[in-house]
Amino acid sequence: MWKYTLRRILATLPTLLTVITVCYLMLHMTPGGPFDSERKVSAAVLANLQAKYHLDLPLWQQYLYYLNNLLHGDLGASFRYADWSVNDLVAKALPVSLLIGGLSMLIAVFSGVLLGIWAALRQNSWVDHALMVFCNIGGSVPSFVIGPLLVTVFALWLQWLPSGGWNEGQWRFVVLPVTLLAVINLSTVGRVMRGSLIEVLSSNFILAARAKGLPMSTIVLRHALRPALIPVISVLGPLAISSITAAVVTETWFSLPGLGKLIVNGASNRDYTLVLGLVVLVTFVAVLFNLLVDLAYALLDPKIRY
């Protein structure tokens, strides 16, 4: 397994290089540059700015310059945020995204699995229907609808929680965004868990266990749960990545200083280094989560061995 893990980590390098190269070229091909604004900067000032950020070099030299810095752990200077390096910006945004995304994923997985089990065991009962209606609402109603609803109820009407802001991650500021992300993810996890468990419960080995007279709780917990979790684990990878790096709507609505907003702003500002830095990070997180998911398969399914 260690060999497999090492092999997968090494295989990440060509993936990263490909992603960086493609993004690099795409960013430079996109019309509009980092210094295009309502007021046109004069040719001389533009030349000063380009020299400052090495944009006066041929593209291939800029690319090599960027890669060289990257190898030294330097993601470069932000073109938009003059006082900060991309390393600074990522270092400040990552903990916010990790906290919001991580916490919401924990809640979503724990509650989603429980709800899925409950619904599967009460298949076609009113409990099942009610839970699935809840999950479908959470999954189909967009976050830009649920978000304002949460704010209106809990911040404006009841005045229990702040409507936005971060305040260094004080728990009161974390509750609503985490709830929003958790509700969305919980719906997916709950639906997948229900479907998977129903399928597993109709398998022959479960019928055999029932025929042996084992209690239902033992059947579910000891025999059905592990194989039923495999599809859930499969969706966890993409869900976790999107919760941490792409929670743009949540971050915008709650004014959170996370990675999602940074990516969108970076792209619209043509902040090449910031976008590339975040692409490197997202790619790394994606590869890491996919690896963790693959390793988790081996833990859950004895047939899978690396």
């Binding site: 309502e38 007021r39 000032v45 910006l89």
Partner: protein, 536 residues
Amino acid sequence: MKIAALFIALVVSQAALTTQALAAQVPKGIELAAKQELVRSNGPEPETLDPALAESVGANQITRDLFEGLTATTTSGQMVPGVAASWKQTNPTTWVFTLRKDAKFSNGEPITAEDFVYGWRRYLDPKTASPYATTLAPFILNGMDVAESKKPLNELGVKALAKDQLEVKTPFPVAFLLDLLSNTQFAPIHKAVIDKFGKDWTKPGNMVGNGAYVMKDWRVNSAVVLEKNTHYWDAKSVVLNKVSYLAIEDSNADVKMFQSGETDYVERLPPGSFEQFKKSNPADIKNGAMLGLRFYAFNNKDPLLKDVRVRKALSMVIDRDTLASKVTADGQIPAYGVIVKGVNGADVTAYDWAAWPMEKRVDEAKKLLVAAGVKPGTKINFTYNTDQYHKKMAIFAASEWKTKLGLETEMENMEFKVLMKKRHDGEFQIARHGWVADYNDATTFLTLVQCDSDANDNKNCNRNAEDLINQGNQALDPAKRKALLTSAAKLVMEDYPMIPLLQYTLPRLVRSNVGGYFESNPMDRFRSKDLYLIKR
């Protein structure tokens, strides 16, 4: 003789200015709140807090609290002395400023004229690469040449005559120099701090400024927290002890945070919500006119639009009153010229037809199109950046051109940066544009229609108007200057280089217990030193 007399009068009037009140005071009878901590929303994250690099409204709002130039602007829009105690104009292009004896940096060290020289040179140094350099550089002697690496830094028109005496030379008589110097790009800078920390000098704990506040904390994309600067020369007049600027990009989120009591200030209301808040928050709603113009740029080189008759017809059929009252509906003022209400240095100009009934305007416009050989059904292309506000305005304009002139408009929306690139490169027919004054003088707006100006995306040029502007810039008599610039504005607009539409206003919410906020502040400069919280 006459010029000399005028010049003497000018010097006397300027010397008198320096005796005016220095800061807004809390009116008698007002009981202040015990806790003087203001939370202001400030739009997107500031791109920098280095005054030499700051360009956006949000960044400059904060740097005005952290730094102070020779002069400053109060929350009622008045120019007042800043670090300068007094000044005199020794000839039309030379000024000598005397600094306050008690002016200090936030680390307690005294401010000298050399700190100004360093700050100004640094601002225009090509190595600093300030994107804002060429906006203000033309008004300081050799400023443009220095910014464009054609002359060395030491040839910039600023010199320390003594520790407390600063000489400023301008390339021509700059009537609005005092107002211009309130921009924090012209603030004194503590050289030793920059030498020590380099790019990190603006970080909390490193920054040394000279404004009414010092930076306590800067959490990127979240908040910039300022505290009162005890070394500030006018610290006794500063009432707020702490000011937090929150980075809130989404105006809906901004309003929600105000409604839930987390902020005292909504930077800008969401489009279309002004009337609603006027009813729901009558005590908090503010909406002053500001020095900004919404307009549509014409590509004057375009085969269809190079005919002035076509440009005139397109401009005259847009009903600005309906646009202001029904479409944007946030109190903006219809505009018929490049000069907006409240700006110094020129009068507002308007087309004669602005007073005509719409039927007459449409008839005239149709005749113009016929004369120009433009048939109904002709297609025109309109580009704007993706935004609901711009979209509403664009649909209205297209509908006016369709229903009144029978012209078909292809509307093309695109990302902001793409529009900017296309507009600057002349790859458009008609494009959305907007301009906010950098300083309170008509010349900031005239750059939009001047020959060879970087700000002129219309690419129009009227040499006669240009001559009038040049004459105005040389004039010492303010009345004569104003007359010349007004004539220039009127003359150039007769070429219909663009479609002026609306003068900006700033619909926002400011908690009713925030004192010192005036709607009559056309430059939208609200230094926290002039604000205070009233006991509720």
